[in-house]
Symmetry: C2
Subunit: 206 residues, 2 copies
């Protein structure tokens, strides 16, 4: 296996690094230089037609993209400790929460990022994609609301029962929110306690 | 198990029906009357805080939401035939394609649906959510482009190797696109052949 990772903070590659750390695994890693546009180079497009990182190159030379899919592949090869659940109910519940944090929280955060954030302005212009700042602002309010909703849904120490891939995905998203000035809402005490708990794990620094 | 399904065409509940049909399973079903707003009723909100269908009620009385998560739960209980893959590589690849069709194709289709389609206008107004028709139109072009991209990525008879959950998810999305007047692009011959192939399966009528 060989992991194509990035050289700057980005939520998706971090998930794979944290997942590997939780499994106690190390994988040879190539750092794709995003600032130099290496992820859009022909050699990287051949690995992932979407020109994104992370990408995992398998031992047969084929490649796998999408952070969560790479984690599922690793889990299938290295089942312990189980991070996608062991029983049918755990498997379903962890997947549900991965989908919910991505669809409910990451999608509006992403809309703020591409429509409002100064860091994406030049890139969007170069790609010929019009920005809609008012739409982004509506999503800023929605992201805030969805973080409060996530707080209201928290029942235990972790997102979906025991510590799982759902916590890894959620941490990457919540930290991305803070990075674009949409931090955990003041009243979201359970979410804040969860964030402190998960951020303290050694894998969170990976 | 008890399935809370809908009473009108919607892409997500269809996935679970098709998945069950592929497994040869039948599950007692309650049809939630979307037209009457039953999915937003307190009793349904208690099943799914997001007020969405489908929901699967498990035998212990707990509930599971999100179409793909429900399918994963069913697969864990009834592994044959495997629709989320058997080997690590199949498991990763099928998940990758589920994520790609959802993020690349369904997200822009959804943006057209909520921002431009007449059927959602009154609902969005009632929810106090502003529509951005120009943003929707940009996403219409993007959805078309992403359907062409999906066509360019097709290598075999199915989305991710053998017939899998990725075909079920993709069929629900492609048919939703046609429903909102974003059909398969004229030049997308492989995608069209795939659509005919998958639509012919008995499960596609479930």
């Amino acid at each position: 296996m060989k992991l194509y990772d990035e050289n700057m903070p980005a939520p998706n590659p971090r998930r794979v690094r944290m997942f590997l750390a939780e499994k106690g695994l190390t994988v040879p890693t190539v750092r794709v230089q995003l600032g130099k546009g290496e992820h859009k180079s022909p050699s990287h497009i051949a690995r992932n037609a979407l020109g994104q990182v992370p990408v995992l190159e398998l031992d047969d030379g084929s490649t796998l993209s999408e952070s969560v899919s790479i984690c599922r592949y690793i889990e299938a090869l290295h089942p312990e400790p189980p991070l996608f659940g062991r029983t049918p109910k755990e498997i379903g519940t962890i997947d549900m929460w991965i989908r919910r944090v991505e669809m409910q929280v990451m999608v509006p955060l992403g809309a703020v990022w591409v429509n409002c954030h100064p860091a994406t302005e030049a890139y969007m212009k170069a790609m010929g994609v019009k920005r809609f700042p008012d739409y982004g602002e509506q999503n800023r309010a929605r992201a805030f609301n969805r973080l409060e909703w996530l707080d209201s849904q928290m029942e235990g120490d972790f997102i979906a029962g025991d510590f799982s891939a759902a916590d890894i995905v959620a941490l990457s998203i919540v930290d991305f929110g803070a990075f674009i000035d949409i931090p955990i809402p003041p009243g979201a005490r359970r979410l804040r306690a969860w964030h402190e708990r998960v951020s303290k794990r050694r894998s969170a620094k990976a």
